[in-house]
Symmetry: C2
Subunit: 497 residues, 2 copies
Amino acid sequence: MKLKVKDMDISTGDIQIIILNEKDAHDLDLHPMDRLVLTLRGKQTIAILDIAESKKAVPPGRAGLFEETLHALSAKDGDTIKIGIADKPESVAYIRKKMDGGHLSPKELATITQDITQNKLTDVELTSFVVASYTRGMNMHEIAALTKAMAKSGDRLTFGKYPLVDVHSIGGVAGNRTTMLIVPLLVAAGCTVPKTSSRAITSPAGTADTMEILCPVSLPTQKLKKIINDVGGFIIWGGSVNLAPADDKIIRIEHPLSIDAEGQMLASIMAKKASVGATHLLMEIPLGPGTKVKDKRQAKHLAKHFAELGNLLGIKVKTITTDGSQPIGSGIGPILEARDVIWALKSDPRAPSDLIDKSLQMTGTLLEFCGKAVRGKGRALAKQLLTSGAAYGAMVRIVEAQGGKMPKTDDLLPAKMAYTLRAHKTGKIKDIPNALITKVARLAGAPIDPDAGIFLHTHCSCPIKKGEPIITIYARSSHKLDNAVKQLKRMGGISVR
Amino acid sequence: MKLKVKDMDISTGDIQIIILNEKDAHDLDLHPMDRLVLTLRGKQTIAILDIAESKKAVPPGRAGLFEETLHALSAKDGDTIKIGIADKPESVAYIRKKMDGGHLSPKELATITQDITQNKLTDVELTSFVVASYTRGMNMHEIAALTKAMAKSGDRLTFGKYPLVDVHSIGGVAGNRTTMLIVPLLVAAGCTVPKTSSRAITSPAGTADTMEILCPVSLPTQKLKKIINDVGGFIIWGGSVNLAPADDKIIRIEHPLSIDAEGQMLASIMAKKASVGATHLLMEIPLGPGTKVKDKRQAKHLAKHFAELGNLLGIKVKTITTDGSQPIGSGIGPILEARDVIWALKSDPRAPSDLIDKSLQMTGTLLEFCGKAVRGKGRALAKQLLTSGAAYGAMVRIVEAQGGKMPKTDDLLPAKMAYTLRAHKTGKIKDIPNALITKVARLAGAPIDPDAGIFLHTHCSCPIKKGEPIITIYARSSHKLDNAVKQLKRMGGISVR
């Protein structure tokens, strides 16, 4: 059948959509979510059918195309396209197999991953895969196959170095900028560290947002190889290198369901490590209220599975649990966190000791793990690399190689509007919940406004006198500051007992 | 935040959608599929968020609304609406519970059903419910609770009659118009039979499409009550009375996945029977290639579950299996099937004996089951009601009560363009597959063109001489006839051995 294109002037961001009028769909015996092959001037694409009940949206004889579909066909409003019925992708049968409790072969998982990457599955099909994998579970061989398929679905960075060290935190703790200390420490010790980091999704700053204060974090692959050879490490935004893109699409479905299927989490994290060719990985699991992992038992279980999966992928994995009960460091928000990091690298007395302590502990563990330090001597080596200025030197080389320049900490100023919460009595700080700090800092403008955020004057359980500052909130406008302060009060503030 | 409405001029047919520009979504910390409360001039509604990457679709500062959302707010292009974040409906937590392997309480299932009915769930959430119910399964108490909730979600017809008899076929057999004989036979025997039927979805005619040849099949509820009191029965289109609407929305998700979760199928069928207050139900399960139920074992299993569920709902259920290996009757398509039915009711020699035979068998079983005939005498009573003209009289009363007039069979003429397939040799008809007849009749125009379809001159295993007709295809245009004939050939035709 031939239909005239209507440009719907709307985009899904991924999947290709075609809309037909109810009447045409009925005549052609088509149903919502059927797949159609569209042809125009020798170009072909497959789009998912939606049905318009009103003539206003799409009249009979017209085919409403979304931007992605127009683009795939190089079609314009008024063009005449041919439509036909397309077969379902094979992966739909494999998803059914998982729903029916079967085990998927590496080939089947590779096909599903490829179809996810190429936006060939509808939300219904993709959700079915995510939910069936969650309810039926995946064994370690399936998880390993999915991980390999995900790594293969995107770019791969091959550096050919050994040891190639990586570090990952399961997240949930505000201001946890240890990565920006650990990477230069490891580089100073002679390790290769191609670190890809995330931007904030629900937090006030991701490592990539903070690193961006110092230098660009989106670089071409060729440049990355040169940096590894010249300097030994980098800290870039993972999104810029298209590692394991299928993963992002799965996370889009998991988010509204608040699912965190263990199999998919393992695959998601490890696919990115496999994409950069990591040989040694330190996995940090913070434990505390509001962190992703709830208790030691769950952490131990997860550690075992990370090690097993690493084994199947040829990556040595070591897991440590850390105290995730409160924010780490003094600054929350990209600029304030970057200042903490530079203070720490320069051994400035204003550097937050908790951030330094945790970074040295993790670096020490990794140095022993990858053979750069003898057992029991890792932390001491890390400390020496920090205090000698070797780590700072490594960070300067990394920042410059990525095209930036190390700023003076005095130039890293917070936003101008400020509100300081003070102790209403003398006592001890009761609790500084991550969830509160995160929400307030985001409402103040972080990470979009890099100079917005929070400065923590103290930590929980610390003694405090009446009138002394607990936190200062920084924002670019009084409107944003008001919102943040209101939220602080709504969430009960920070109490002194 | 306040935004100016952009009328997107597009409709989903169910769920309310709002589209924001990426920038606004980022500023407000919103994610795709988040729920927003929209307010305009005192009206409020909840819509699901989609994000536009291009300014062309929805620029910053604008809120792109789909038709359903515009309608709910009585909004027009250019209006200024207020948006805020809405909580997730409770049912999302219950869906999670089912995903985690829990059992759902009647209250929880009622909440989910209500949210489905009111289009409050996204495709991701609804799919999760369908897939989790499928993979985790539902026990009989959950199925009964879901059935009751579904029945409650729509209109209920209360007639207060006993016995109130219903009949249902699991489907998959072309031309299976037994219902249009069974209902007048039962009414003639003094039973109350409020029969709601479906229109064709993938078949060449549903009972509702065929009944519509004789009279209207969409009637107001008050009228239905009067018909039951005056005449004792009706045959209407189920879609016109809004019985168990949640079910249709679940089927929309199951269709592209080719799922037929047993629990949801049981609930789907029985909810509609509960909605009309049935006391006795005869369930027909045709067995043969291409039918929904594959073998006797599966049929037995299903029969047991229907009986158990009926028991929890206060409906007596009897199940019979029938031969579903080939089409029943001679006509395929609304007009041709209606003609078969009237021939049968008038004991016309042209009436197809297989249709009469099957209808008498099923009616006899039901008459014994509901106590209108003693054991072993049901079929004889049914036969007498047919040959005496009592059933024809009942059908005339039903048709007239529904606002129609019984046509002369000579006026029920097929479409003018015809193609007859003839035997290429003398022998026996090998096989007349339901799938072939269905596909060819639909391409010829059935059920949209009610006079299109197929006439079967013979049945399978019947002897045939070279040159004798096997089937005749009828269509309104040579184009449709060509398509149907091509399809017949593509599917291998009907062979003589």
